[in-house]
Amino acid sequence: MSDTKNDTPDNAVGDPEVQDDNIVSDTVKEAGAIVKDHLSDDHDHRDAHDEFGHTPVDEHDSHPGAHHTSLGLSNTKLAMWLFLGSECLLFGGLISTYMLYRNRHSEGVGPDQLWDIPFTSASSFVLLMSSLTMVLAVSAANRRDDRNTKLWLVVTATLGGLFVAGQVYEFTTFYREGLGYTESLFASSFYTLTGFHGVHVSVGIIMLMATMGMVAKNKISGDKAETVEMVGLYWHFVDVIWIIIFTLVYLIPA
């Protein structure tokens, strides 16, 4: 992985954790020093940042930016984590809507009549195990083992497909038992929440299959291991959302 676009030299060889810990504390320290500088300031015309301003930075430092410039991280991964952080608020809103409305079904069918815990447990287990196969795919990709990467990607996609199939089955059953989408507040919010999750899983399956195809044909325009890792992050995120839904929606009685 080499994001060497001009100013993102990432050949930082130092311990990355130490380096990162410094970012926040350095910033605070620097801010503190600037403030101190101001406090001893008798003339407003003085430039407070001079002290830092003339700290020489060796331009020929063999690892520039190890402490000051880019974080030495992949842009893509940073963006993916930002996206996942943002997704927390999306699913948070949907889960909250469901939590608020789960008891509001007047005379209509409610969760108690519908839930089939053994079945949902099984499909949750399938999704959980797909996280394991995903991580094995990432691990294989890191070893540059294309064969196993492809294999585990396909297994992951299959498990994901199994999960979606289970959801479709569950939806049909519920519908037959009288839980139409427009039936009650409970119905609308339940289908919307789990439906959004199902769409996320389906998108993940498409991404897995596309990645598999691109690995097979060597068409990934970038770092292969990183691409697989990004799909993996997304996939695991979808899995942890289901961990929450499974407990809050299915296991905790309304």
Binding site: M80, L90, R104, L185
Partner: protein, 669 residues
Amino acid sequence: MAIIERPASDTLTYSDMDAAVTATSSYGYLRRPVETTGWRSWAFTVDHKKIGIMYGVAAMVFFVIGGLEAGLIRLQLAGPEGTVLSADKYNQMFTMHATTMVFLFVMPMAAAFANYFIPLQIGARDVAFPRLNALSFWVFIFGGVFLNTSWFLGGGADGGWFMYAPNSDTPFSPSNGVDFWGLGLQIVGIASLVGAINLITTVLNMRAPGMSLMKMPIFTWMAFVTQMLLLFAIPVITVALFLLMFQRSYDATFFSVEAGADPLLWQHLFWIFGHPEVYIIVLPSFGIISEVLPVFSKKPLFGYPFVVFSGAAIGFVGWGVWAHHMFASGLGPISVAVFSVSTMAIAVPTGVKIINWTLTMWGGKLWFTTAMLFAVGLIVNFTIGGLSGVTHAVAPSDTQQTDTYYIVAHFHYVIFGGGVLGLFAGFYYWWPKIFGKCLNERLGKWNFWLMMIGMNMTFGPMHIIGLQGQPRRMYQWTEARAGEGFFNLGFWNLVATIGTFILGVGILVFLYNAIFQHRKEPAAPIDPWDARSLEWLTTSPPKPHNFDRTPTVHALDEVFHRKYEDVGEGDQHEYVLRTSLEDLVLEEERHADAHIHLPAPSYWPIVLAFALPIMAYGVIYTAWLIALGAAIAIAAMFGWALEPADAEPSDFDPPATGGESSSKELANV
């Protein structure tokens, strides 16, 4: 993995590193766009500067549209029993005015500045994901246009900009206006979200050597906080808009009160997004004037760390105050008390900023250019808006003011006084950087004073009208209830309407200045304001690659420290001019990097963006359009994923000789 993109690596090493990918085989059907002139060079560009300019132009067009809507509203209210608009049209007018101004003018205009100046201020060649940047822009454009097509397809949305459900449900708003509104904002929200991810990554990861976070120019800092707010606020309104869409288009029951729905659900979701949104609107402007004030006071920004951390604090506390928009909704005393206190608390970091700006000017050699005037105007007017805001934090007082013109006065002082004036300061300050020519200062003064007088005449009287009890969103008022003497509603309504037109003339002066007068102006000197931050360390307008060599940063106010030498002793500082900016830029040119690499243009962002309004029309009219849009989107994503972020040299015409082609060659080395 469609929307995942790597930053460009050096071309020279590219083929070695990723030997498996060859350009011609990987992006298949289409030759990459390579034009550097003509409309294609804009439509397919991934250059953050061009995208920034396009954002600015588009936002300005929407500003004019929103302004016309405002003019109609004020004409309707100028006299008793106004007949300019019907009640229905009036509802559409104020809804679309607010929506247009917030989502299609202020936010994209701030995005324009952020796009253009963040890479320049942190010493980068472009943003982290240039193609995603283009996608953001085109998604925004198509979303904005989609939203406004509702005028021709049965009328605009009519539920007020916060579109309270169930009031916005089909029984109460049967036209398609609300559908257009919801889907349009959904699309514009995608643009904001993608832009936020992109710019945050850029700020964190693309800084030039030596630029620690505490050496970042203050505008970059404030834009960064803004993007963090967007990142976390957009998904919340996305949820709300999805619920509304399912409610209206697919008969869900989220807001059906007869089924037991809670009307506060929408209010909570909207305002959890809506309050951070207020800071999304004003923080970029705060950043702009924090750049302008030091330059024209010839002093460093007073208490830079305080400005930074108060900005971050505003961003954080802004998440805990949303329910103060709902004090009149029966939240219960405990909730009201908690949100009252947190609302008062957020006034503190805001006050810190005002103090810092004032002390920046204190004792400085003030130079009242138009940019400076707008900056000072912001401080004054925003303070008025901030103070009336504190009166809303007091819940008993707020319940009196809720839904009156007092609220309208308050948020216009905040959004216009705090947001828009800052953007205008940015226009005058950065115009020579962007276009190489200054805006005319004489017209600028006219522009400023007309806008200043106009806005205070428009929004000032609304405090009085509001405290007298005139409700918002009422399409008529009657003489019989207008009151007597100084507090006569009729008189102040007329004043406000006249003020609106003075304000409008002020904006016309700006447009004339920017479009016509600008052409007659001489080329601006490279350093017209004796500027301080890194974006000035290049030619005006900047070259496609921004900097001839990646600057190494040693100080906050890097350019100032390169120009001036400290000859003071010990703790005393005295700065004398060492070199001019001309010489510094020439020096950079002499040491230009040998291998400058820029990302190549792409068709896919605009194609992918185009798919979204098609799907949105499908939701409103017929389902097969959704499928069509989705098919286009998927094709675009695959085209995108298979296209390397970097073009192969063979994709470009061989360099011709002469000046014209050298930039092309440079852009695509």
